[in-house]
Symmetry: C2
Subunit: 209 residues, 2 copies
DNA sequence: CAAATTTTTGACCGGTTGGACAAACGTTAG
DNA sequence: CTAACGTTTGTCCAACCGGTCAAAAATTTG
């Protein structure tokens, strides 16, 4: 499939990491086309030609960043397992996803940017690897439904709704903080969100009869 | 506050509409910085200088587009009213929001793009007009909770979750269709989503005891 | 029709951007 | 020390981009 990883010196490894960190900052804030190599180079504390010595093209940086991102981004879903109580399992999946939105908002925004633009660079991955993973987990959830452990619904849309509600707090952070205002928009907003989402996904909005 | 609307000829009105339609297409797909005036001009079937005769700057097009968008975009929330059954009222708000994601995906993506980049052009509106509207509706929802009509939760996060889940089907459309695959990703996906969201928001995931 | 006004276009400009390149600089191994 | 190799930088370039301008073409008005 792919060539063997090129041998790299210590400096190359360090500088490449530095560049990727800077690029994550810049790309996630401005999008791919909205970011310039100069911006990334400055954020990484080096000159543009020096940066281009480590990554020959702007696209190479973005591609490397995206490949690394996807692994860690899907880790919570991979951990969703058939062992343990289904409701507990789903609840901790939601919690993990929300923690990622809190701790890695730049990664979330980078991903959102890519999808928004039609996922030109990762569409094959979405239709291949991602679809396979979601289908697999949907089957697990369907098993829980057949066993009467959770209510019967569409597992795929359930997963979508978890992604949407949790990533919202990273991708739409500006809006969330603006609407909540200075007092409620502080650090506590993620705990409020966690409490709300748990209640929503478990009990819904009907009053307790 | 603002000067009176400039007098426009019939051609000016028509051409400005044509340009705004083309700009919506281009901006929503590529973001502001990722779009060029040439692209918009070509999509509108005119030359670049001709386009600049109707809008002096690229930003003017984006600003006009955004102003129009916001009114229609918040209309469903404005309609959320205290008359009628609370659960029915919320259910139809969700349905209307999902219909907007289906019928106006470009508008949704344009908005998402703006927020993702930190809302540089509409932040004052978010902190002013939008916050006021959401606070007002949150008060209505709180009234329903006090009256025991719906379960007690955080009304602000409830509104966020409705925004997130419905807009997801416009903003992340590529991903949704990729994961659902050719068979389930067709036109029926919005009906499936509507059914799922209704169940989620009303009953949650707990099995019926 | 003819004058006045509006609309359209080709040519152009200054600034930015992604990227190339060779020369200089630093480091390491023999 | 020195040759080989890895790293850094100044300079440059061609393409692109937002925007200007004067003049031509079309339209409206008297």
């Amino acid at each position: 499939m792919e060539g063997s990883a090129p041998r790299r010196t210590r400096i190359q490894q360090e500088k490449r990491e530095l560049i990727l960190e800077a690029a994550l900052e810049v790309f996630s804030a401005n999008g791919f086309r909205g970011s310039t190599i100069d911006q990334i180079a400055e954020a990484a504390g080096m000159s543009k030609p020096n940066l281009l010595y480590y990554f020959r093209r702007k696209e190479d940086i973005h591609e490397t960043l995206m490949q690394r991102l996807l692994d860690t981004w899907l880790a919570p879903l991979r951990e969703l397992d058939d062992i343990g109580d289904p409701l507990t399992e789903l609840r901790s999946y939601i919690r993990r996803k929300l923690e990622m939105a809190r701790d890695f908002p730049r990664e979330s925004r980078l991903f959102a940017n890519e999808i928004l633009q039609g996922a030109p660079r990762i569409k094959p991955m979405l239709e291949g690897e991602l679809k396979a993973l979601v289908d697999e987990k949907a089957a697990v959830i369907k098993g829980w439904m057949r066993a009467g452990k959770i209510a019967r619904t569409d597992p795929w849309h359930l997963i979508f709704s978890i992604w949407a509600t949790t990533q919202h707090y990273a991708d739409f952070d500006v809006q969330v903080r603006a609407v909540l205002g200075a007092d409620r928009g502080g650090d506590g907003r993620f705990e409020d969100a966690a409490r709300f989402l748990e209640q929503l996904f478990l009990d819904g909005l009907k009053p307790k009869g």
